[in-house]
């Protein structure tokens, strides 16, 4: 849909804000509303908007399908890995107390890491699903809708 001038200009204006907002929701989840899941979907929605305007192939240049698969697996591994790490440090699975000298600080660090894992998995999964769908859909002329 890149020939729609208004759409393209509006998307260009919105995109940086959507992506920065997603990062804000990710890293500010300890204080404000939101967290990994919300950040992941907002980030993916931003990239999907980019793909809608510039085409799926443009999105594939930024996030190749293989990278999306790696991302969505990496997120789960980060989450479960944090659990295993806390096991190795002598605490229960997913008890982040041992991740820092101060127990509360360890919890805070653990929460930040697992939220990052959630965000990466969600964003990767959404992008992978969208790419798989869009790759099957033939390009449609505006008048055909």
């Amino acid at each position: 849909m890149s020939h729609h001038l208004v759409l393209r200009v509006v998307a260009n204006l919105l995109l940086p804000f959507i992506l920065v907002f997603a990062l804000y929701v990710q890293w500010h989840g300890d204080y404000g509303p939101g967290g990994g899941f919300q950040a992941g979907v907002v980030f993916a929605a931003g990239l999907i908007l980019y793909a809608l305007v510039y085409g799926v192939d443009a999105l594939k240049k930024i996030v190749p399908p293989r990278a999306a698969i790696i991302l969505m697996s990496a997120g789960v591994l980060i989450y479960a890995g944090t659990g295993l790490l806390s096991l190795l440090l002598g605490h229960d699975f997913l008890d982040y107390t041992g991740l820092a000298a101060d127990p509360a600080h360890g919890q805070e660090r653990g929460i930040l890491i697992v939220e990052l894992g959630v965000g990466i998995t969600v964003a990767g999964a959404m992008i992978a699903i969208f790419t798989a769908f869009a790759g099957r859909t033939p390009d449609i002329e505006d008048k055909d809708w």
């Binding site: 990994g36 979907v41 509360a104 805070e108 929460i111 697992v114 939220e115 769908f133 099957r136 033939p138």
Partner: protein, 181 residues
């Protein structure tokens, strides 16, 4: 108080109208866009309930991503809904009975926002008292999700991961010209 009542009534009226339009329309393209509007209205309602995190999840997933996926599915299939052979009276009756039962069930519920509601007397005060000193995270929702109930969230993340794997196994990353990527 009156202001929020007006906003609630406005959003609920639009929500009901959108739902009726979705049920009546046969053009699936219009239905998909209306479903997206429905999600956006629901997101507005979540904001009035002070659940902003739920609101922007609903707006991003319901209003954005799932709409795009539905449009993609429409492009692969057909854009007109088939006309039903007969009017499904039995289904309507069943829906009406279930709906009436659900509304009857709400009569016994505590008033909206009531501090005496059972949910506020169980573990919630414990979380509120312990979350900040134990985790150092001021957002109690985040502390509960990622730390106290970390197992649940790990399970949810795995569900999302497996859902994506299932979709990819079914659809694959096929190119338009048939070549595999």
């Amino acid at each position: 108080m009156i202001g929020s009542l007006v906003i609630d009534l406005f959003l609920f009226t639009l929500l009901a109208l959108t739902a009726l339009a979705i049920a009546r329309l046969r053009n699936l393209f219009a239905v998909t866009i209306l479903a997206s509007i429905f999600s956006l209205l629901a997101a507005g309602l979540f904001v009035t309930l002070d659940a902003v995190d739920v609101a922007f999840t609903e707006a991003a997933v319901g209003g954005g991503i799932s709409t795009v996926l539905m449009l993609g599915a429409l492009a692969l299939t057909t854009r007109e809904e088939k006309r039903a052979r007969q009017t499904p009276w039995l289904a309507l009756l069943l829906c009406a009975i279930t709906g009436a039962g659900l509304i009857y069930g709400t009569l016994d519920m505590p008033a909206f926002g009531s501090p005496d509601a059972p949910i506020h007397g169980h573990v919630a005060p414990d979380y509120i008292a312990r979350a900040l000193p134990e985790t150092g995270v001021p957002n109690i929702v985040t502390a509960v999700l990622a730390s106290y109930r970390g197992y649940d969230t790990l399970g949810e993340t795995t569900v999302i991961f497996s859902a994506a794997v299932a979709v990819l196994l079914l659809l694959g990353f096929k190119r338009r010209n048939g070549g595999e990527e």
